[in-house]
Structures are given as C-alpha cells and as structure tokens.
Symmetry: C2
Subunit: 708 residues, 2 copies
Amino acid sequence: MKFLPFSIFFLFLSSFVLANDGYKLWMQYYPIENAESWQKEGIAKYQINATSPTLAIINDEIKRAGKGFFNFEPAENQENPKLIISKLSDLNLTTFQINKEKITALGEDGFSISKSENSETLILANTDIGLLYGTFYYLQLIQKGSEVPKEGIFQSPKIKHRVLNHWDNLDRTVERGYSGFSIWNWHRLPRHIDQQYLDYARANASIGINGTVLTNVNANSLVLTTEYLEKVKALADAFRPYGIKVYLTARFSSPIELGRLKTADPLNEVVQNWWKEKAKEVYDYIPDFGGFVVKADSEGQPGPHNYGRTQADGANMLADAVAPFGGIVMWRAFVYSENTPDDRHKQAYNEFKPIDGEFRNNVIVQVKNGAIDFQPREPFHPMFGAMPNTPLMMEFQITQEYLGHDTHLAFLAPMYEEVLKEDTFVNGKGREVAKIVDGSLDGHSLSAMAGVANIGTDRNWTGHHFHQANWYAYGKLAWNPYENSEKIADDWLRLTFNNDDTFITPVKEMMLESREMVVNYMTPLGLHHIMAESHHYGPGPWVTGGSRADWTSTYYHQASESGVGFDRTKSGSNALGQYSENLQSVWGNINSIPEKYLLWFHHVPWEHKLQNGENLWNNLALHYQKGVDEARANVKLWESMKGKIDQERFEHTLSFMKIQAEEAAWWRDACLLYFGQFSKMPLPSGVESPKHNLEYYMNYKPKNVPGI
Amino acid sequence: MKFLPFSIFFLFLSSFVLANDGYKLWMQYYPIENAESWQKEGIAKYQINATSPTLAIINDEIKRAGKGFFNFEPAENQENPKLIISKLSDLNLTTFQINKEKITALGEDGFSISKSENSETLILANTDIGLLYGTFYYLQLIQKGSEVPKEGIFQSPKIKHRVLNHWDNLDRTVERGYSGFSIWNWHRLPRHIDQQYLDYARANASIGINGTVLTNVNANSLVLTTEYLEKVKALADAFRPYGIKVYLTARFSSPIELGRLKTADPLNEVVQNWWKEKAKEVYDYIPDFGGFVVKADSEGQPGPHNYGRTQADGANMLADAVAPFGGIVMWRAFVYSENTPDDRHKQAYNEFKPIDGEFRNNVIVQVKNGAIDFQPREPFHPMFGAMPNTPLMMEFQITQEYLGHDTHLAFLAPMYEEVLKEDTFVNGKGREVAKIVDGSLDGHSLSAMAGVANIGTDRNWTGHHFHQANWYAYGKLAWNPYENSEKIADDWLRLTFNNDDTFITPVKEMMLESREMVVNYMTPLGLHHIMAESHHYGPGPWVTGGSRADWTSTYYHQASESGVGFDRTKSGSNALGQYSENLQSVWGNINSIPEKYLLWFHHVPWEHKLQNGENLWNNLALHYQKGVDEARANVKLWESMKGKIDQERFEHTLSFMKIQAEEAAWWRDACLLYFGQFSKMPLPSGVESPKHNLEYYMNYKPKNVPGI
C-alpha cells in the first residue's frame, strides 16, 4: 500500500457517508485533512512494547483509527517506527533522552506525549492503562487536527476515582433513564459478553473514566447473591483491560434479606461479620472490586437510623469489610426525611457536619452538587467546605431528570463548571469547590467524582445525540475539574462531527448557552423543584399535598400574593447559615445576591425591582420568554446546518430540538399562568400569551413516562 | 467514475470489514463477485418512472445496494438505462413487448422481472408497492449471484394480509420478548420518528410483510385514546410508503374503561355505537388502518362470554364498526378456560366449529398452528379443515417462548413448513393446511397469516443473529406458504453473510436440523408443555398444582409408573376425534402414529417397544442425548467457521451456541431425572449421567427472566 491513492479515496469516502446512528460516539475516526503528512509523522508505523490485554486494545484502537483517518491499516513493530508506545520501565533509556522523574511523577494513570530527537512520537506512561489513556489522547489530537506541542504533553488525573453511577435495576429498567433500558443484560450474564460492554468500557477509557457502579442506589440485595456475583464478575473481567473497576450498591438491610439475620444494626458484631464474609466472597470473584456505594436513610431506603446509629457507624462497618481488600465505600450524603421538620436543604449538612472526622480512611462521602436534587441550577452544596476532616466526592447527574429528559439539549459542562469553580470562602478566599473535591485543599489523598449515567439501549447510547457530550464532559471534568466548558465542547464537536468551523463555531455557542436556556424556560431566578410529580416530566408548579411536603412544588416556591421564593435567610429556614460568613452576607441581601440565586434564598415580593429596573414578575416572565425564544432560535440555527453532517444524526437532532422548543413554551405557559394567579399582574410586552388555560395544563397527564 | 478501479477497491474493502452488529439484517449489500458485468447489465443506470414516496424509497434502495455491491452510486434516469422500473400503467407499451394481462393478473402486490428484447431488465408491477417488492427481489438476486431466468419472474403473494403481531406493551416491555424491549418508543411519539421505524418497515417490505399489529394481544385500552391514536397515526404515516398497514389490538372491555359504559355486551346497541364511533375516530387518524386483532375470553381477557354471547357476536360487532372503512377483524381462536373440564386441546374447536359461517365477511379467525400453545412440535390445529365457511388465518410464533428464548438456535421454517404441508384429509386427500390458509381450498378471498414477532431493542433486532432468519422465513412463507425451508435458509445465509459455499453448505444443514434438535432435547416423541412455570425458561416437568391445571406440566405429560403421555384417543379425551377419520385411524393407533406425535395422543407404557425395537424409556433418553450431542456438534461446527464471517457476529453466535449446548444438557438431565422416577429404569448406554440430582434442578429458580 502506497500513499499516492489517498486523494482518490477521499473522493469515494465522501459518497460513502451512509447512515450514522451515533453508536461510535466521539470516536468517529472520520477521514482527516493532510492525511499524508500525518501518515508519515504519525501512526502509520508504530512500535508497541510488551503485550497484555490492555496493549492489545491499544493496538486495535490504532488500527481502527488508521482505517478511519487514512483508510489504511497501520502496522506495528516495523523498522523505523514513527510512534513508540511504551511503559517507562520497558523503554531503552539509552536511546531516548527522557525526564524519568517527570514521568514517574505522573503516577498510575498519567501519560506523556512528546517528540524524540529523531522526531519520533513517544507515548509514555508508568502503567498499561496510562498508555491506553495516552493513546486515546493522541488519536483525539489527530482527529482534531492538533499538533503535539514542542514542550510535550504531560497529563495525570486530578481525581483518583472517576466513576459512573448507573441507576439500573436488575430487571433492566433504569430509574431516571431516558435513553431506553439498561445495557446490562443480566439474564445473559455471565455466559454472554456483549460487544456493547466492551464498547462501553472503551468509550469510558477514552475519556479517563475508571469505575462503574452497576446498580441503582435504590438498591436490590439480590445483586449480592452468588447468582448475581457471577454475573458481576463477568462484567468486571470484561472491563478490567480498559482500566474500569466495578462497584456495587449495597442495600443496608442485606444481612436481613440475604443472611436471614434479625437486624442490620451496624454495631452488631454478627452483622459486621456478615458483611465481612460477603466482602470476602465479592473479592473472591473480583479481586480488584472497587467497593460499595450506599444510599441510606433516605427516600425509603434502610440505614443506620433504623438502629439509632450515625451515618459514620454505617459507613465504617462496610469500610472495615472491604478494607482488607483495598476497597472503598462511597457513602451518599443525600439523607433527608419527611419527618424532620427542618428545610430539606439543611438536613444533610446537619446530619454529617457533626460527624466530620469520624469516618474510616477508606470512606468518602458522596455529595450532590446542590443541597436539593440536581435542579437546573443550584448553589453549591454547603457541605463543601464544612467537613475538612472527611474526603468529599462530587455527585453530578448526567441523566437529565430535571432538565427535560431525553429531548432537551442542555450541555451540562457549564453547570458542572459553575459549581466546581464556586468559591466557598470557608476560611478565606480561593477555596473553590474543585479544590475540595480533588482533595488538595484539605490534603486528602482519597478523591472521587460520580456522574449519574445517561446511558441506555438507545442506538446512540444517550437518546439525544448531544447528550453524548454530557457523558464526555463529565469524564473530562472528572479527570480535570479545572477544565473549561468551551474547550470540552469544541473537542467533542470535532471528534463527533467534523472539523468544519462553519459548523463548530455556531453549534458550540448554542451548546454553551443551552443550559442557561433551560434554566430560563424551567426555573429562572432561583426557582427550583417545580416539575411534575414523580416522573418530573414537564412543569408542575401546582403540585401540592400528598404524603411528603418535601416532594411538592409549593414547598419550594412558596408562591402567594405576597411574593414567591423560599426564605432561607435568618428570617426563614436559615439554610444560608450553613455557608461561609462571606456568602451569608452577599447572598443574604436581596440586593447583592446574584439574581440567579434570588428565589432560592429569598421570598421576594412580586413588585420588587431587580437590577434592570423591572419588577420581579416582569423579569420572571421575560426569562421564560427568553428561554422559549432561544429554543426556537436553536431550531433555526440547526436547520441552517443541514448538509454539514450526516443526515441521520441531523434529522434526529432536529426532531428533538423541535420537541424542546414546544416544551419550552409548555413550561412558560404553565408556569406563568400558575404564578400569575398570585402576582395578578399582566404579562409584560414581548411575552406571548399562553395557548391554553391553566386548567388544561394541570389536567395534562402523559402516560408511561419513562424513568420511574 | 469508470469501471476499471474496481479490483483495487475490493482489496481495500476486504480490510474494511469492521464491526458488524447485524443491524442491517439480510440487506448487507456486501461486495459481489463479477461486479463489472453486473454493473453493465444491472443497476448502474436505471430509469424510474413517476414519483411517489414509495418510488423515492426504491431509488434510495438501489443507490444503497449499488454502493454496497460495487462501491458505486447508481444514477437514475440517464440515457440508455439498463434497468427500467415502472408501473404497467406508466410504461410506453409501444417500446416494449409486454404480456399485459399476465402482469395485470399479478394483482396489487405482484411484480415481474424480465429482460426486454434490448436486454434491459424490466421490473414491472401494477402498484408502487409491487415495484418495491420487485426491486427488493431483484437486489436479492444480485447479492446471491443469481440471474434473471429467460422466462422471467412473475410473483404475487398467495396470502393477502401478511402481518407481524407485536406483543408489545405501552411501557415498552414485551410479553415473550427476548431481544430487549419494544422498539416503539411511545413516549417520543408522535413527535419523533426514529430511524429504526423506517428500517423496520423497510426490512418487512423486503420480504413482503404488509401489516403490523403494534400492541400486545393482552391488550391495554389506553392505545385507543386520542393521546395514543396520535402516536399510532405517526407510525402509520411512517410505514405507509413501505406498504405496511397498522393494526391494533382491541381490548373487549374498552367501552367500559374508556367510554364509561356499564357493559361491553356486543349485542347492546350503545356498545355497538361506541365501537362505531371509536372506529370512525381511528380512521379519521389513519384512513388505511388495517383493523382490530382480538384475544377474548382467554387467560383473563374480557370477551363476549362475560355477557353469554358467542365469539361471532363479539367479532361481528367490531367487524361492523370497521366495515365502512374497509377494515377487517382478526379474531383469535385461542379461547380456553380453566373452568371448562374438557382437555384444553379441544376447547377452541368446540367453541368455534358450531359457529362456522356466522361471522361477517370481514372477519378472519386467527388460529395458532397447534391446539395447545406454540410448542416445539404440535400436530396442526384441528380447526383447520373444520370450518370451511369461515376464513381461517395461521398464527405462528416467531419469538421463541417455548424454544429456548434468545440463545437457542432453532430455524423455524421447517416447523412452519411441517404444519403448512400437513394434509388434513378433510373430505379427501390433498387438503393441506396451506390451502386452507391461502383460501384456495374453500374459495375465501380473505386470507392472512400472523407471526408473533421476535423483534426488540437489541442491536441486531432479534437477540440471536440466527433468529433474524425466523423473521425472514416467516415473511417468505406468508408470501408463499408452499415455499421450502431449504431455499429460505440458503437465500437468507447468502444475503446475510456471504456466498461462500464452504460456509453456506454446512451452516445451512445445521439450520435445517436445528428445530428437530430442540425438539429432541426439550420435548421428544410428542411431549409438550413441560417448561418451567410462567417464564417458560428451561425445563419444568415437575410443575404441578396451583390455580390452573392447564398451566402445569403434569397435566400435559401425565407421567406415572404406568407410562407417560396424554391419552387423546377415544379412551381418553378424544381430542383426536376433532381430526379427519383418516387421521383418527392412523394417529389413533399406537403402532401407526408417527412417533413424533406419540405422547401427544397416547399414554404409553414405559416398556412399550417403538419401531427401533427399543422401549419407550430408552428411546426417550436417547432422543434427549441426541439433542445434546447435536447442540455440542453445532458449537464445533461453528468454531470451524471462524474467519469466514466478520468477527463480531461470529463471536456473538458462538457465545449463544455454547449456552444452548449447556442448556440442552440441563433439559436432558432435568427431564430424565424427573421421568426416571416413574420409569424406574436405568439410563441406556450412550446417555450421560446427570450432573446434579433432581432436587437441584427443581430448586434452580433464575431471577428476572425476560419476557413476562
């Protein structure tokens, strides 16, 4: 095979663009420009030192990319290789001038990419997995048309455990899943390893994710039986060469359900021993099992409260069980009760702050980004900064439970970034959430991030093609929580679609503004949790009554003729008192609080003037209208992109964007009709009249909404 | 684009064989041999007369096939076309010598393919859909490397309504579905038309299927609400250009559930009017709606029995409602009750035979191939031949409820063929079931066939790659119930994998023998319905007791120390009396009945000698062993095929075949241990000893088995 015919090939390939269902995610490996020069410089002839299952994967990946980029299969281990992939320990250090210490310091998962004096490209690392990460990074560079900078690339993750949480049930339904059903086919396991499991692991490895929690936090103890552990082992074996560890959710009452004990009291020695035996069994199957994730004492889940014990008592019992095997416990802080009279916002902090420092050193407390529940916008959780003696991990939700489910384009990196970059001001300035999460602020070596997955059986994995970007963005921010959204969007678009700036530039802008657009048409100005009951699909500001006030909308918006918003200042629940003095003073003042948080912390009169001189009601209405206008403008923008990408993904995305625009108007109309009952003011100019009356929206109850 | 570079292309394409997940089914359009000559003769330059959505589909299909076959995009409507696709009415009859009457006689769905005097290829039909069928047929010829015979091809379907029945629920679970979940995403409908809906319609059109029943026969009246009819309409609109009509299952009690009536009595005028109004509403949405499918008075479903009415009363009410719009009613004969003391086998016949001739002329009675329920082998249903005054349609099950679910390779064409070719001997010889089903025997113009679909969200549609062949085979037999299995298997293999006879010949043989293999390791010699309870996964000959005897195994096998088998002769239930005199005499005699039906009709002593001189017990044991041996031999055979097809489908199939071999042994061991309790005889030589004891098998209860 010679280089000459390439130009001919591209001619053909352009007419070869057939259906693209999106399954290949950001690993499209479409033909690149300047293929010849990349060929010569790059991956055409490469050397890969030593063999292992992971190195075989690297090998396959290079060949696959070569076929896509150049329609050419790169050959390994030829003379005069242009690309050398090697663990530091396998490299002949007499041949290459290498800063050994610098690479050693990159640790287990780090890698470097650099040019040798003879202009070979070197991908170096301390482990096979490091090489895998480095290879993906290098292939992504090629696809983007970027060069390896002269000074080289030195990367290592800032966070140790970068995991996806699957809220997948054993019957393959997915709680808050909007892209089909669980990709884990438990029935066929352990005997059949589906190709999709490998493709899943590969996709995660390509963005640095190194763990997966297979089961729903609302846990089923069945997964801890021998029958299911054999299945879990099969998945763990499949994922291992990709550097992915498996974790399971542990139902706190398992000793009763499986072990036939009378109690699950964490201070009871028989219970402790049951867990120790169970952990031993798990590690017999899976020697590198990651550990347990626990949701306890919340939303009906059993936990240490049932026995008058603390969350630390519960977590430590499990931690002791997995400690001999190197396992960890991710103990969720999402603990609240309808029987506690206090503001739901305050309960986790009140529960955990007093036991700061009481956890074993293999426990990490998993804290959602905000104190309520994955709203389109939440101020950061006040636990961040409040527990210096306990490692805290971040839990983001990738699946869009509260952000429009499958059909609403909302690029979430800006939401994640907003929280990570927020300064807690605990003991001074520069105490950003990211520094707490990566352990640097308080010197914790245990660090982790969890993302609640948006992956399902849909042919494109995530329902909306653009929701692939949220999986990708989560991985990138788990690797480096200081990464910025603009770069993530740019890279993702180039890897997923093309390198055409007439496409990239406008679409990237649309992505970057999309989350704010959703906030505008759903919950502007700090409104929150006003979605429909149970399935959370569509607006439901009228939701009230029932068994749990803390699951109703009226609890959160407190709308009345006097105004709207939850008073969390000293005159109200004083949840604000859980934040630093600095934030208490800025956020506690109705005039200095950023307007995006206004109704989160304040009950504000309808006629109160905001910064633009308009009253609250008019501002609210204009925000809703703005969201709708943006969603409609996105449809137009996307339509103008026709022909720039393959038709299948174009049409699919367009169809969803039209739904989003319709539903944005549904949100606007329903919410403004509802709140208008209290404000008793007319809609300001520029805001469209609702299509139907309030009764219509209140009576619209779609059936069989997915995800519950 | 010139012809010369083709040889170069094939060089590349061979290394281009990447992952193949099977989504493309039997429309792989892989590169063909002698591409140059086909190019010149064939589809490179074609003419397509007139435009319509269906003709646009034909156009796309030819281009798609051209790219696959030749890596070349055929061009339409050039000078000197080599291929002309035209409705007879659009053809310039002065240019071509055409037997107009012969083509007209092919009817709505027929087509012809022939050579003109100038050696153009002509695809002619009376309708656009006929042209679509003809185009698919022609492209399949090319892929198989077949020629258009000199005398031409003249095809028309023998059966008018060729429908798939989806037992899909509105929450996307699928009753008896083993390949994931329903491909109908009701939540996204009507606003999002998924590409998979179009691919589904296309696949069906490619094999002549022209109708789809979207919903489970265990019906939910919700689908008849306006909210859902809008969704159904969206699917119907998407399917229409492919010639696929939509049908719905009608829950008999809908007038109560939706219309708030107090009764659903079919003779009540208010009820009749409710259905008339509902039918009108349905046809307002979908002018070519196919009609209703009804399961009534069976397994908990409401029906005319609730009001002391006959099945004809029920069917006719619905028939009158859809008649003004050209709709039909498919009324299922699968009616039986645990409260009827008679053999379940006899109940449908007893219910329907007395009302033969009482149905409206737009009713067709849908009869399962056998009288029990889709067993691995059943004698044909005695209703066939017993109701000359009523059109009867055949219901086959494609999904493998009783044939090993997703992982057992069982090519079902031989099973379908066996029933279709069986002579009922009603009023003489040559009264085959196929002639009743196609209406020719009794002169019915209304004819239909239903296949219970095996399609789901799995990336390859059907779970097992080879189960695609059952969907394909069903379509081919619905088009022509006289087709033979060997040709179907041969064609399917060539379209799906390759034209390599070293692959085709052995794999085809394996396919053709696979169903008998399953019979051997599950239910040899006429045994039936001895599967595990409820999910029917694995053996359960010990299933007994509970609320319904007719859902237990002991009811069907009647094993005791005196022997095994259900006596359905005169000395027993005399279900045999429902068949023709001829069959009564042959099948009624323990020595003349084909051994495959022995235990279906006779209770036979263990020591009774069969034709081979061995006793029943030894024969039973040897059949089980044979099935296991065959399943294991298939694994070996398949392993020897490595490299002949793409790795992804190869590995997937191998993995399933290994499961099948394991489960065949599970069946053998469990059944022989169970029946051995009664025979009290040792296993004959050549039969392996069971791995575990009977208790082990009886206690093995897998969790979360799909499909219920």
